[in-house]
Structures are given as C-alpha cells and as structure tokens.
C-alpha cells in the first residue's frame, strides 16, 4: 500500500516537475525575448556583425573568457564544473533513448570519472563560499542551496550507478514509461528514488533561481549586440520610442 502510494506520488511529482520546468523556463525566456532593449549596450570590444555576435556568445558559453580574465582559480573550478555537467547530462541520454546512440554508449568508461570530477568541482565551489572572505560576504542562502542540491544529486547518482546498483532495465522502463505517458512503477530502490527526487526538485527550482543564467546569458545585451552605430543605414531603433 505504501509502495503504491509512493509510486503514485513520484509519478505525479515527475509530471509536475516536468511541467514546472518547461513552463517556467518558457515564461522566463520568452519574457527576456519580448522585453525591449531601448539602447545599444554592446560591451567594447564588440563585434560589428551578427556573425561576430554568434562567435562571441559561443565563446562565452564554451570557454568563459570574461571569467578567465577575472579569476583564474575560479575559472578552472567553474569550467571543469560545467564541462563535467555537460558530459553527465549527455551521458544521461542513455536513460531517455531507445535505441541508445553509439556516442552515448561509448562514454561508458568515462562516465564515473566525470561524476567524480563534478562532485569535486561542486565541493570546491561550495567551499570557496565559506573559505574566501569576499565570497562569504556576498553569498546568500539560494547560493548554498543550489550547490547542496547539486551535490546531493551527484552523490546519490554516483552511489546508485556504481556502488548500490539498480537494475538498468527497471530504470529505463520507468523513465520511458513517463515519457510516453504510460507510467509504470519506479524501481523499488531507495537510493535511486532519492536521486530521482532530488532531480525533480532541481527541475522545479530551476526557473525560479539563478540557474536561469543558463538560458539568460543569450539575452545579455552587453554580449549579444553588434556595434553598428557607425554603420550607415543601421539606426538602432528603441521599440518603445521608435520615431523621436
């Protein structure tokens, strides 16, 4: 009876989380898209073409150049953190696809490695929020919460993949069941359920938190505007004051 209730709760919560995540993200990102940018704000040195802006944003997202200028140690921690996160997310496609693409399967050997790296990077980022006086001063509860949640996800994920094994078949049946709207009971494996639950919490938390930097960076006018003020015929128009 308890088990059935828990199943129902988790399945329901999974759908709520998926909805909250996608709807929340949509509302926020569309909000950024539709809010007008009245004045040109590109940060010097700025590219003068749209292609240049694409290159700038790609660079921002892949190698964090501004952070590199700012703080080398933090750059290492943050870049490794995000690289490992990307690798882990990519590898997790094996739970959401059937058949599983070869590229995802081939990451088998490296998967645990990235898990540990991510865990260590999370500990570093958390630790610096306590150990460095300036960072301690400026950190607030949501900053610690996000790292703790991610750390719990990492820890439970590593444990359940390699040390307290859960049957892959049961996991895939559960996930694919959810995705096809024919839900089945989750595996009766507490550690897996914890991992899954923490991930759902993260999904709900995401659109209400600073994790929005993931999509928001593309809407930062300092980075996404070309400098075309001195291109004839390219007057920058303020959407709410277009004909002064």
């Amino acid at each position: 009876m308890f088990w059935n209730l828990l199943s129902v709760f988790l399945v329901g919560f999974a759908y709520i989380a998926a909805f909250a995540f996608s709807a929340g993200l949509l509302v926020k990102l569309v909000g950024y898209l539709r809010t007008p940018a009245p004045l040109p704000l590109s940060a010097t040195p700025a590219p003068e073409s749209e292609a240049g802006v694409v290159a700038r944003l790609l660079g921002d997202v892949l190698i964090f150049p501004n952070l590199f200028k700012a703080d080398k140690a933090l750059w290492v921690g943050a870049w490794v953190f995000h690289l490992a996160l990307a690798a882990i997310l990519f590898r997790h496609l094996r739970y959401f696809t059937y058949p599983v693409p070869g590229l995802v399967l081939s990451m088998e050997q490296a998967a645990l490695f990235f898990g540990y790296v991510f865990g260590l990077a999370t500990i570093y980022l958390f630790g610096r929020r306590l150990a460095l006086p300036r960072i301690l001063y400026l950190s607030n509860i949501p900053d610690y919460f996000a790292l703790v949640l991610l750390g719990l996800i990492a820890a439970s994920g590593i444990l359940v993949s390699y040390w307290a094994h859960v049957y892959l078949v049961d996991v895939k049946a559960f996930i694919l069941g959810l995705m096809t709207f024919h839900p089945v009971a989750p595996p009766n494996h507490p550690l897996f359920l914890l991992h899954f639950f923490f991930v759902l919490l993260l999904m709900i938390y995401f659109p209400f938190s600073k994790l929005l930097h993931a999509g928001g960076i593309f809407f930062s006018p300092s980075q996404n505007q070309p400098y075309q003020i001195q291109h004839a015929g390219k007057r920058y128009v303020n959407p709410w004051d277009p004909n002064p």
Binding site: L41, P45, K69, L132, R134, N140, H213, I229
Partner: protein
C-alpha cells in the same frame, strides 16, 4: 583641497602598479553621501522636489515599469550567480574595502528588492531567498551606494554574462528620482543645460566672449589667424565639446582651433548646445533624451554638414545613442555620431599630416594614456587616441595591461560623482588609476574626457604622483608645423 574625513580611504601600496584587493571593511563608506537635490533644479527638470508620501508604492511601480521596458535590467536581475568575479574589480572597493561597493553587492541592493516584490520565492519566503523590503533603511543604502558608483562598467568586463552594473545603478537612480530622491550635483547640472546650453552654466555671451579672447590670444601667440567661431551658420563642422574645454581645459579648445585652421575647414560651436557631457545619462531616460536632442537641434539650426563630438567621455556614451534617442542623422555626413579622435585618426591614415609633425616638440614629455570609461567600454575608442599620441610623441608608455583599454580604471568621479562632498570616495576611487600612473613614471597623463581632466589632477596630487594631466589632441597640435 579642503579638509575632509579620510577614514574611508585605504593607504596600502600597489604592487608593480596594481593594487591587490584589500580586506573587507564593512561600512567604510556608509557616511559618504551626495547632497540632496534643490527644489529649483528638480522643478526645472520635471522631477518631484520632495520625497512623495507614498514613495514606497510608487517606487515599486516604477521598478515594474523599468523591468518591462529594459531587457538588460530584467535579465541582469535574474542571471547573477554571485560568483564574485566582479567583487575586486571596482575601484571604489579597491580604494576603501567597503564590501557594499562590490558590484555584486551594489546590484543586490536592487536585486533583493526585485525578489521581494516581483518573484514568487521572494514574496512567499523572503528570508530564504535573499529578498528585502524597500523600507527606509534600504532607501538610505540605495542613496548612499548607488551614488558611489560611477557607472563605468569595469565590472561588466569580468562578469561571465557581462552584467552591466551601470544599468542597475541607472535604474535605481531613475526609481529614486521618480519619487523625489536625487542629488544636488546631477540635477543642478541638467537644469543648467536647459538654461544655458551647458553643464557649467556658461551663458551664451560669456561663451562668445571667451572665444573672442582666444581668437586674439592664440593669434598673438602663434602669429596665425586661428579663429574660434560661434554660432556660424553654414560651417562645415559643428563641434560639440565638453563646456569645460572653453573654461578649464583651454589647451584642448586651442587644439581644436589649431587643427581646423591647419586643415582649412570651417567649423563652429553653438551656444545652444556647447555641451557634450550628458548628465541625463545617469538620471533618467527622459532627461537623457532631452539633453541629447539639443545636439541635432543645434546642428540643424546652423545648417552644418558634419557633427563632431569633442574630447568628452559622457558625451560619447550618450552621443552614440543619438540616432536612437534623437532620430535619424541621414542629413549629416557621416550619418552617425563621430568622435574627434576618429576624425583625426582617419586624417593620419590618409597621410594628411605627412611631413608636418615634429615629434621632438613633445620630447620633454613621457606620455601615458588613460582610457576614460565610456569611450573604452561602450564607445569602441581604444586605438585611435593611442595612434594620435604615437604620431605626435617619441616617448609613450602604457600602464599595466590590467589597468588599461577595456579594463581601464575609472578616474573616480564619473557618473555624477565629481562633487566635493564625496571627496573621500573620489580619492579612493582614483587610487588604482593613480598608482598605475605612478608606476610608469610618466610626466604627462593624456586622456579624452573632461571629467577625467577635472578629477585626475586632484587625484594625482592626493596620491603624490607628479604628472601633468592634459588632452590628447593638443599633443598633435603641439607637434604640428604650420
């Protein structure tokens, strides 16, 4: 310099011209505050003169409006991850140790209020979400610390997402102004523009008088009929200088005259608009636009072909908004804002000064160049001034690379801070720049901004750096063989 309380200022030395981040000293600058605005000025610029009785509700309403009208503000409220990359980059922190001058902490003053009133987390569980009420204490902190930011954008260079704290400061100031909270210096300057055409309150007759004086004086000195025309209809070029060029930085004004005389080009200034420096830039959009409109109005009144912006930082920052704020410039050539440094740079490249520049005329100078914030971080003007200096001088030395170009340190008095009641924050803010100059052992500090030319001599004297501060164009005209 009049005596002032120096306790906010840290006296630790630099290392190889670069200031290491100091230890935190909470509340170090909490008492450094601009004087509040005067009624005659706020009336003149269409702002409430006293704090409105329902200021809290009105302020939150205004905040909501700004969030809907400014993508930058909306995005920057959400995406800061408090990584701290910006924290030790602000000169006002580096010079004082006050952690409220971390750009991230300054932004949190606005962001915590944003969360409280505009996010579900902040409305339901403010304590857990870093949300705060907009109460008396918060307003006081806003007034103190948003007028300890010079809107120089140095922080945005180091932020992974380019969060521009200047936009956040500008929004906070606009909210405060809308409920009757603004500073004397900024509002009185904007009011003076509407009354006299410039920030210093120089009436038209005084401007004309000064130009006529320069006509005589410069001809006597050079033997050449160099003129400083005013309100000349049909001139080729309308020059929009900072008014300080005809008052304090006269060498720059003389350089403009010599340049145009050499080129044989007719030019003029306008008594309707003899000010590039737009203080509406750090007050609110309405005044930013109204001040800027005067430039095109003057140019059309005088039927000039080209508008050139002079050596002024805020002017260039607002100037590049001109087609957006004030309308198409298609009736001018070029049909967009144009800076004197770019104009001269083009001429240099075209060989106009070939064989006419004697660099040895500046051999007594060891020159270093201070990038003013606005040209360097919004205006794409990094190389042109340097090219002008290199063409005119034999001895040019750059300051440490992390203190120049887009990473330049603010002089410490931009954004409405060039006022004596905040001398402590001005001297502290100017410290990183002063120590970088000291490291070069230069004796001439060239720059292209009138606020910098007013602030830097005081800063250099305070930090014991024996250097002369001056414009860039005058180095070229000093070397010109007519």
């Amino acid at each position: 310099m009049a005596k002032f309380d120096e306790t906010p200022i840290l006296k630790d030395p630099a290392v190889e011209g670069v200031l290491p981040p100091p230890d935190i000293r909470e509340h170090a600058t909490a008492q450094v505050r601009c004087w509040p605005s005067k009624e005659k000025d706020t009336l003149a610029i269409d702002l409430p003169s006293e704090r409105l009785p329902d200021w809290q509700a009105k302020a939150i309403q205004k905040f909501g409006e700004l969030l809907d009208k400014n993508k930058a503000l909306r995005v920057f409220m959400d995406i800061c991850v408090r990584c701290g990359a910006c924290a030790d980059k602000c000169q006002f922190f580096l010079g004082t140790g006050d952690p409220q001058n971390f750009p991230v902490a300054r932004a949190e003053l606005l962001r915590s209020v944003y969360r409280r009133y505009f996010t579900p987390g902040g409305q339901l569980f403010p304590g857990l979400n870093g949300a705060a009420d907009l109460d008396e204490t918060m307003l006081e902190r806003w007034y103190t610390y948003f007028y300890q930011c010079s809107e120089c954008r140095r922080c945005s260079v180091f932020c992974p997402y380019g969060i521009d704290t200047a936009e956040i400061t500008a929004a906070a100031r606009e909210i405060m102004a809308s409920v009757g909270v603004s500073t004397k210096y900024v509002t009185e300057v904007v009011a003076k523009v509407y009354e006299t055409g410039n920030n210093l309150g120089i009436p038209p007759l005084a401007w004309i008088d000064n130009c006529e004086f320069l006509d005589e004086d410069v001809e006597e000195e050079t033997g050449l009929p160099i003129r400083f025309p005013v309100d000349q209809e049909g001139a080729d070029i309308l020059l929009v200088p900072p008014s300080a060029d005809n008052f304090a930085n006269v060498d720059t004004m003389i350089a403009y005259g010599k340049l145009f005389h050499f080129l044989g080009i007719s030019w003029t200034t306008s008594t309707y608009c003899n000010e590039g420096g737009n203080f509406g830039l750090f007050l609110n959009y309405q005044n930013l636009k109204k001040v800027n409109n005067r430039i095109l109005e003057a140019a059309r009144m005088l039927k000039v072909k080209t508008i050139i912006w002079g050596e002024c930082g805020h002017a260039w920052r607002a100037g590049i908004f001109t087609p957006t704020l004030s309308g198409s410039m298609d009736d001018f050539d070029p049909p967009y804002p144009y800076h004197i440094s770019q104009y001269v740079y083009k001429l240099l490249q075209a060989g106009v000064f070939e064989g006419k520049l004697d660099k040895s005329a500046n051999d007594h100078l060891v020159v270093t160049y201070h990038d003013p914030c606005n040209p360097a971080r919004a205006g794409q003007l990094l190389d042109e001034p340097r090219a002008i200096i290199r063409a005119s001088c034999n001895h040019f030395i750059e300051m440490p690379s992390e203190t120049i170009r887009e990473k330049t340190f603010c002089c410490g008095a931009g954004g409405g801070l060039l006022t004596d009641e905040v001398m402590a924050i001005r001297m502290a803010g100017g410290k990183p720049r002063a120590l970088a100059v000291k490291h070069t052992q230069a004796n001439y500090l060239a720059t292209i901004c009138a606020i910098c030319k007013a602030q830097l001599p005081v800063v250099m004297q305070y930090w014991d750096v024996p250097v002369e501060v001056g414009g860039t164009l005058q180095l070229l005209t000093n070397a010109l063989k007519f």
